[in-house]
Symmetry: D3
Amino acid sequence: MSGSSVRQSIRRERVIQSLADIAPDFARYLIEFPFGDIYSRPDLDLKSREIAVVAALTAPGNAAPQLKVHIHGALNVGCTRREVVEVIMQMAVYVGFPAALNGMFAAKEVFKERDQSGKD
Amino acid sequence: MSGSSVRQSIRRERVIQSLADIAPDFARYLIEFPFGDIYSRPDLDLKSREIAVVAALTAPGNAAPQLKVHIHGALNVGCTRREVVEVIMQMAVYVGFPAALNGMFAAKEVFKERDQSGKD
Amino acid sequence: MSGSSVRQSIRRERVIQSLADIAPDFARYLIEFPFGDIYSRPDLDLKSREIAVVAALTAPGNAAPQLKVHIHGALNVGCTRREVVEVIMQMAVYVGFPAALNGMFAAKEVFKERDQSGKD
Amino acid sequence: MSGSSVRQSIRRERVIQSLADIAPDFARYLIEFPFGDIYSRPDLDLKSREIAVVAALTAPGNAAPQLKVHIHGALNVGCTRREVVEVIMQMAVYVGFPAALNGMFAAKEVFKERDQSGKD
Amino acid sequence: MSGSSVRQSIRRERVIQSLADIAPDFARYLIEFPFGDIYSRPDLDLKSREIAVVAALTAPGNAAPQLKVHIHGALNVGCTRREVVEVIMQMAVYVGFPAALNGMFAAKEVFKERDQSGKD
Amino acid sequence: MSGSSVRQSIRRERVIQSLADIAPDFARYLIEFPFGDIYSRPDLDLKSREIAVVAALTAPGNAAPQLKVHIHGALNVGCTRREVVEVIMQMAVYVGFPAALNGMFAAKEVFKERDQSGKD
């Protein structure tokens, strides 16, 4: 299991635990459905999948926690920081500058976190 | 100039003309800003840019005309139909099934249009 | 199998067919996930589930096709027309008058369709 | 009563009638609340109110029918066509080009309708 | 006056006071319109009304403060915690997992607050 | 250069700096496009432009930071506090009470900040 997969597993584990007392089945759906079914499908590479998700989560302009998870995800599967910045910048055209600016600040925080733990 | 570029030029020309009588400057911004500045930036390939835009336009669940333009765009710059379908399918996880289903119907119409004109 | 279940089955069948040529797996997810897992859970009655969905689909103000499906659904599982109207009316407070007004027009069309086929 | 007020009254009358059979109380709220309470408040002129509403209805990018009503409204209370175009154009910055473009097309239709009936 | 009504009154009182210096009339509308007119209508029970509102406020995925008020409201008028969890879980299908997950965390906080004050 | 322009310049400078390490070009677009092109157009006065932007940023109900910037902006170009309050209040009709209430709290914070620095 790669370092990236280990980190992903830890994150999932934490979500499952936080839901354990109120909605254990939801935790199971959350894990099984998105990760089990969608991400493992063969016809689109993981990098493109993460680009799509970063774009979709930048669009509402206020989904910072989930967006940060997927900026980490995108970097973990091979996107460069510049590519992440470009995806978010492009959203300015489609959903406006405030949402893209918020996305940029989310990216900035993620990059800082990764600098501190020595990751790309 | 490639066939794809020619078609893009024709589409832009039509948008410029439709805005000519009420907002000619807006037509100019629309063309100059997104296409001139963003799409031509070097750090992200065109295919990834179109994947991001297809994702962002699937997310609201009701931007069918623009989404169709960018599904054409994605196919024109090298995405396969299967990849487009996967991007839209993945959105179900992040923005719900109704929006993803609407995106799928938009894709279906685009594929039909392209079948009729012999394009991939 | 009740008349309502038969109609639901027919509708699902149609969605599966319309996706068969471009995204057969998505059709399967669409059916399996929402209906298989969520609707059959014991802790909330079907009528309350449909009330929640009618509310959620009124909120964006532009999801008319899906909203109509679920107004039918709500009436099929025991909501009265007046209850449907009240749910939509209440949304005016939370998402504004235009969205609620659009929801009301969707309800009006559904009621007409049901009048024509002699349903409550 | 001015020509503009007469037209407004006719429009309201039509909304009340269309809701009469399913939600007569909602028709009453719709009329009483927005028009009775909000529009008649002294601290902001009608022109500024309509500018705010045109902006808010351009933002979702898909509220064309209501947006058209309020573009008419803005022109009826003294906005010029150029001012309406500028309000919509400005939205590109805040909510993206697709929504602003849809707003522009709504304005174009309104201007055409008014040309045909000889209005500014 | 029941304990629940007393708490509701206290909450309303606090909203009125917080708006008193900048928008006293808005405070009045806020209270009069939603509570006076809508909630007291006879054709839909309070429990169903709160289910609709919890669904509508889960949908945008980021309305945590208002959502928490209405999760309290739903529990105050007779919903069980399990029913609230089910309503929010169902939203995953219609508005995606991130919004439903945020709703779940809002519910978790509410349940904790109620545990601390000995409420169901 | 007026006091208001100086403050605007300082704010822009800060945004440029915060983006300097991750997306310097985006900072440039952000400044050049909205301020250079749109705000300086002759056909709509600055006060009306700010009213439109306050309305658009109140609508999503969760864009507090940007909304606060533009409430300052509106007051800087001649809107009264009462006019700002009226614009936000009017949004209740179009996007619902929760979003308008959030807008009102953003206004309240801005007014307090300005009281502390002796501004209108």
